[in-house]
Each structure stands twice: as C-alpha cells, then as structure tokens.
C-alpha cells in the first residue's frame, strides 16, 4: 500500500464558519500539494490541524499509516512529535538569535559538532551561508524566507507545511523567489503542502491541487487538470476560466517563446526564467474562433486548426472545447456560437494572440 496523507477534520468556530474538510493523497514522487482557495475557505485551519497547532473538534488525521489525530480514539500527537517543518507566512524567525542559531534551533538533540555540520550543510544548499552570523532584523524579505526554509528543513522533517509562503514579500521579490522556491522544494525531497489563494503561486509551486471552498475540499488532482477541468461551476469560478497546459520550451525568437503543449505549438510572450518546463495559460475568453475556411489575415500569432469536441451552454455564454492538439476551451457568446454553428464535430480555427498566452515557469 502506498503511503498517504489522509485527513478528515471538523472544526467549529464560535462566531464563524464550520470547517469540514476531508482529502487524501499519496506521499509519492509528486511532492508539492497546493491547498488552494479564497480567504475564509479553511485552508489555514487545515494546515494548522496538520501541524498539530490546532486540535480539530472531530475527525482524524493520518500520515503514512501513523495516526496523528483521532477524535474517537482520543489520539493527538503534539506538533513536537510529528516531524514536520512549518513555514509561517511572516517567517517567524527568532529575533534574539543569529541566523545560524535559528537554522540550528530544531537540532537541539544533536551533539554540538553534528549540529554545526548540519547547519552548514543546509545553509550551503539553500544559499544562505554568508548570512549565518547575521540577525533576522538585518535580512531582506527574500533572505528571511530562505532562512525560514532552512530552519524548517534542518531537522529533516517528514512533511513540510507552507502557509502563503510568498505573500509577505514585495512583488519583485515574489517573482524572483517563486521559481527558486519550487526548485528548493523539489530538491529537498520532502513532501510539502502549500496553502495559497494565488493562482500563479499554485501553478508555479504545485504538482497537485486541492481546492477548498467553504470549508470542504471540492477537487483534488494534478494542477493543470484542476485548472482546465474544474468539477463544477463553483470550482471553475474559484480557479478561473483558464486553459492550463503543461508545456515544453521549443525555441525563442524576437522576444517570443514557442512551447509545445500536447500536439499543438503555442506562441507566447517570453516572460524570462523559462528553462524547459512551463505551464501555458490561456483564458477562455481570450480565444477567438472562426470557421475553418476563413482566409483573412489577422495579427494573432496562434492560429490553431481543430475540431469542436464539446459544447456547454452557460447562460449568455457558451463554453466550447476545441481539440487543436490539446483541448482548448473558448468562451464565446451564444449568438456567435449559433452563427458559426459550433457543435461537436465542426471544424474551426482557434486564434490566440501571443500576449494572451501566459507562461509560468516550472523550474528556476
């Protein structure tokens, strides 16, 4: 049996919502799971329950077959004994200790020499060696983030929990750190749970997405799948109407990046930082459809011939899925859909301007 993280927890707040979240996912190679949802959806409650900082009112949590919490059997493993690393939103570094002492804080059971060696090793890997003698007050936001990650990783946790890891940073730092954080998480080899309400963050960091809405987990799956195929309208509204394709960089020219998504090639603006893998994101409302035989020239860089695979009417709008080598969703008005006769099997060309294709790098 594969090791898995399973939780089914209920938490009532006196003057707030009731959280009743359950989900399970394997602790396998796909390391990073993003708990995604709007604020107030219960993400942080679930994270704190996983960390053992909050005790749910009912339910159970098990990690790789080990019971961390079980209300019926009165099991509650305190945070000290769970072997987790928690990255706080504001990093929560100890202000009275040097960076080295912060990183070594969780290594109190090791002898002094072993502790120093481990601190040096982690610092080297995270790239904070020159910061070790400093105090947290002397660090920039990005440096603090790295120190907090090093502190959490030093005791070799079995599970890493990250609470909105990038939201405390200013926009340029966030941009720069996103790819780096993904790289560090991957390199650490520790399964991680990231809480966020930011779509770009979810795409950049996650392998797996768990969507939380009103205290319940509504969908769990590979990131691009959840974004591209939300299970219901509510999830669709939360994740946005995006096409998200895992894609691979083919070439660059004139400030553009050409990627392969499925059997299709997409031209996008080059955001920089893309090495190899990226998610190509296209909002459904940015896709223009025209009949296959349309010959007039347009400025759109992407002209993708395909066949209508599915149609779903949504009030005044119609959601058309076109198979152009990947399944591309277009959102068009009902009038246009009728005029073009957009039903399954109809041959159409989908057009997307390059600036409407957003690339989110997957590696630093």
């Amino acid at each position: 049996m594969e090791r898995a993280l399973t939780f089914d927890v209920a938490r009532r707040f006196p003057r707030g919502p009731t959280i009743r979240a359950r989900a399970s996912w394997p602790l396998g190679r796909e390391a990073v799971t993003v708990l995604f949802g709007p604020s107030g959806s219960g993400k942080t409650t679930v994270l704190r329950a996983l960390a053992g900082l909050d005790r749910p009112d009912a339910g159970a949590i098990s990690f790789g077959g080990e019971a961390w919490f079980d209300a019926d059997r009165r099991v509650f493993v305190p945070p000290q004994a769970r072997g987790i690393g928690l990255l706080f939103q504001d990093h929560a570094l100890f202000p009275h200790l040097s960076v080295a002492a912060n990183v070594g804080y969780g290594l109190h059971r090791l002898p002094r020499a072993a502790r120093a060696a481990r601190v040096a090793e982690v610092a080297e890997r995270i790239g904070i060696r020159e910061l070790l003698p400093r105090r947290p007050g002397q660090l920039s936001g990005g440096q603090r983030q790295r120190v907090a990650l090093a502190r959490a990783l030093a005791p070799r946790p079995r599970l890493l929990l990250l609470d909105e890891p990038l939201s405390a940073l200013d926009a340029p730092t966030r941009e720069a750190l996103r790819g780096e954080l993904r790289h560090l998480l991957e390199a650490s080899g520790v399964p991680a749970v990231v809480v966020t309400h930011d779509r770009t963050e979810a795409l950049a960091l996650g392998d797996r997405l768990a969507v939380l809405l009103d205290g319940t987990v509504r969908q769990v799956g590979p990131v691009h799948e959840v974004f591209s195929a939300p299970v219901d309208a509510e999830v669709a509204r939360v994740v946005g109407t995006e096409n998200v394709f895992p894609s691979r960089l083919l070439r660059r020219h004139d400030g553009l990046a050409v990627v392969r998504a499925g059997a299709a090639e997409l031209v996008a603006l080059d955001p920089g930082g893309v090495e190899d893998e990226a998610y190509a994101c296209v909002r459904a409302e940015d896709v223009v459809l025209e009949p296959h035989d349309g010959e007039h020239a347009t400025s759109a860089q992407n002209r993708l011939a395909g066949v209508v695979a599915a149609r779903r009417d949504e009030g005044p709008l119609v959601r058309i899925t076109v198979d152009v080598g990947v399944r591309l969703v277009a959102l068009v008005t009902r009038a246009s859909a009728e005029r073009l006769g957009l039903v399954a099997g109809r041959e159409v060309t989908a057009m997307v301007k390059a600036p409407s294709v957003r690339l989110v790098p997957r590696r630093a």
Binding site: P78, Q80, G83, L86
Partner: protein, 224 residues
C-alpha cells in the same frame, strides 16, 4: 545608622524577589497560556494585595498560620519555630504582599511574545518548557526584570505587614521602614531623616532603572 535594619531589609527584599521569580514566573506563564474558566478568580486573588490594607493580610496570616492553627503547627514542625515574629514568617508575608507587583509585569511581558514564535518552536520539536526557556523568556526579559525590580523595591518599603507578622525584633524582623517608625516614636528626628533619606534614594534609583528599562526599545538584538 541602622546597619542591621538595612541589612535585614536588603536580605528580605532579595530573598522575596528570588522566591517571586521562582513562583511568579510559572504562575504568570500559566495565566497567559491557560484557557481554564476559573482563571479570573486566580487573577483576582493575585491582585488582592494591591487593594487590601496590609493589616488585613497580616491579620489573616497571623490567625491562619498562628500556633493554634493546623497550618501554623505544620509550619512550626517544618521550620522548628512558630510562624509569627520570625524571619521565615516575614518572608512568606512579603512574597504574598508583593505577588501582584511581580506577576502582573511577568504576565504582560510573557503575553507580549509573538505566539507564532512559540508555535514555530513547537513545530521544530522543542517542548513547551524548552520553548519557554529558549524563546519566551529571552524575549520577555525586560518585563521580567521590571517585575523583579518592582517587587524588590516594594518589599523594601513595606511596613504594615512587617509590623503585623514580624513585630519589631532588631536583627530579626526590624526592617528599615519599621526602624523609621521607631525613630519617630522616640523623637529621634535626625536618625529618622538618615534612614528615610536612604530608603527614598534606593527607591528612587530602582524606579528610575525600571522606567529606563521599559522606555528603551527593550533590546537591541539587531545591532549586536
């Protein structure tokens, strides 16, 4: 100069402060972390000496721990002498009388430490006691020091409780404040002036220290 009275006062205040650190810190910690409903009662009991006349405390201690009470006999069996009019009795009374002056600043300082730092320490595998010693206490020390200094100064200046419980035995229970009372009773104004001036100077110095400690941006971790 009342050298014996000064020595006794300093000894009493010093020991009282040490006992209050040992007893008051755990009590203050409990007050900040406990979700026990009856906590308000404990808080009220701790604060009582602020509003009660010292004679009330002294009276109850005398009757409660006097030679005719079971607690008093237990005290006598342990200490080898009766509770009233002894230094040990004086110490117990002083600790109770100065309790709020220690516990309230302690609790405020401990509660002022960011809860997330405590949680971060827990997730890093450090026990609650370890976290208290390695995170909470180092970050709260200006407030803890202020509480310790205040209770020291308060014990130096106490009078009513000392007189009720300790009496006026030179070298044993005759403190500075009681000595001043004696001097004035005996119309020895010059001696009273010297002793009172000394007490005034010590108290003023100590309070200046407390306010200076609290005014300063607490600690300067960043510059070091």
């Amino acid at each position: 100069m009342d050298a014996a009275a000064l020595a006794l006062s300093l000894k009493l205040a010093g020991l009282t402060t040490l006992v209050l650190l040992a007893v008051g810190l755990p009590l203050a910690w409990w007050l900040t972390v406990s979700r026990f409903r009856g906590k308000v009662l404990v808080e009220a009991v701790v604060a009582l000496p602020l509003v009660l006349p010292p004679t009330v405390l002294g009276f109850y201690l005398l009757t409660g721990l006097g030679p005719r009470s079971p607690a008093g006999r237990a005290f006598e069996a342990l200490a080898g002498h009766p509770f009233p009019f002894s230094f040990a009795g004086l110490l117990v009374a002083s600790v109770l009388y100065s309790l709020p002056f220690a516990v309230q600043p302690f609790a405020a300082a401990l509660a002022g430490v960011d809860r997330r730092l405590v949680e971060a320490s827990h997730t890093l595998g450090v026990s609650r006691l370890g976290t208290f010693l390695r995170v909470t206490l180092p970050l709260a020390w200006p407030g803890v020091l202020a509480g310790a200094v205040l209770s020291f100064a308060h014990t130096l200046g106490e009078f009513g409780v000392v007189l009720m419980v300790g009496g006026n035995i030179p070298g044993k229970t005759r403190t500075l404040a009681v000595a001043i009372f004696d001097h004035v009773e005996a119309l020895e104004y010059a001696a009273a002036h010297r002793t009172a001036g000394l007490l005034l100077a010590i108290s003023f110095g100590v309070l200046t220290l407390v306010y200076a400690l609290q005014r300063r941006p607490a600690f300067r971790w960043n510059e070091r």
